[in-house]
Symmetry: C2
Subunit: 252 residues, 2 copies
């Protein structure tokens, strides 16, 4: 098996209203089963998902948390506005967003902006992936998948990896349940988080800072499906022992 991964060159600085599908199709050929990996930053910019701190009024809770962290209270208010639950206030502001995604500072990006604007995650990343994917398919006649990505930290280990926040025509989890291993033993339930693995693979080429390449194509794999949603990846409440631990800590 093989996979070829490559960046799309010369993507301009994206601004509100830009047609990302068009930008992509003008710069590369597309093949069936291609997985188009797109950094959420440019999706948000095209969708106008930017805001300024001066438009936010911080409440008491935001002031209290901001004081602990040394952050601007208006920024903390922005995080709270997007969060279903705060799991950790200090030393990191870890929340579960309204989308069910657990991340630091609700995924708000305060880099790569100009004029004091901050960038939100897209409101509905699956929908964003679908709109771009359908447009690419219409222009090219090919059947493809799209993964919208962010970079997140993780428990127990230093560092961030690329992760999937929205998908189009790919299941984020590949289910190996019931298959046999090399010796005929039935595999335990094994669920491979392929969308996150693809996001990480793409992030190796995307870079950060000055050298950013926000679109990467993964070619040669066969994981495309007729549907798929990022929601397949989030744990149900009853299963999530880590969340229970963090809530325990916030009570003491």
């Amino acid at each position: 098996m093989k996979m070829h991964a490559f960046t799309i060159e010369n993507i301009p600085l994206v601004k509100e209203g830009d047609d990302i599908a068009s930008i992509i199709c003008e710069r590369t050929d597309i093949e069936d089963n291609d997985i188009i990996v797109i950094a959420s930053t440019i999706v948000s910019k095209a969708e106008g998902r930017m805001f300024r701190l001066e438009d936010i009024i911080a409440g008491e809770n935001a002031e209290r948390i901001a004081a602990k962290l040394g952050l601007d209270p208006r920024f903390v208010q922005a995080v709270l506005n997007r969060s279903h639950e705060v799991l950790v206030e200090f030393p990191i502001l870890l929340v579960e967003t309204d989308n069910g995604h657990v991340c630091i500072k609700a995924g708000i990006d305060d880099s790569n902006v100009d004029n004091g604007y901050l960038i939100d995650l897209p409101t509905d990343p699956d929908r964003s992936a679908r709109k771009i994917g359908e447009s690419i398919e219409e222009r090219t006649g090919k059947n493809i998948s799209v993964i919208v990505t962010d970079t997140n930290g993780r428990a127990f280990k230093i560092g961030q990896t690329g992760i999937a926040v929205g998908v189009y025509q790919i299941h984020p989890i590949k289910n190996w349940k019931g298959q046999k291993d090399l010796f005929g033993n039935t595999l335990e339930i094994t669920e491979e988080a392929i969308a996150d693995e693809m996001a990480g693979a793409a992030n190796l080429l995307m870079g950060e800072g000055d050298g950013g390449y926000p679109v990467v194509i993964l070619r040669g794999l066969e994981f495309r499906s007729e549907d798929g949603s990022i929601k397949e990846m989030y744990r149900s409440e009853r299963e999530d022992i880590i969340k229970k631990g963090l809530r325990c800590l916030s009570k003491v």
Copy 2:
């Protein structure tokens, strides 16, 4: 930027004493800066890191935990023997191994074995990576990196991904600190967990069960370094809020 990833074909069932470097070099060319990604399972098999439950006597603690989980107490004893700390007993047996690695059941693999043997992680995966890497370099005259991998679950999300457990000549974390973003703003400390992203990328091709390809080459990247250790990736105690949460839970 681009990356080409491919599996090594026709790797035989590995047994104790097999020379993995030799098996690899006989089946593929090697180029400078190649990253050879190797599933820990075959490293462990070659190193003889297998054991049988009938050789283990379960203590009281193992009996108690095994009863909660419906597991064989001897298996739980094997996990405890390899663990520095038990973070969660139920519903998952999550431990920190003596190596500092946090994973379920100390990474003991009870699939892909025959004759009732279970497979341990290698005792020192960095060392395993180095021995194989140095041997490949000696045979080929090329300068390469090696990553030894396992698959692990993660907090907050369903599914497992390929992750790095040992490295040779690559830093598991790439540090983007102090660089500028596209607008000249200084980036916050950004540490990219490239070894885990590579492990995930390789895992997309490795497969599970019957179709396993335990060695993948990632070609076209430039991340090789003169040194590197998996230890660079593990959080210090004082930083680890998730561990604190889990310990809190075990007290109530």
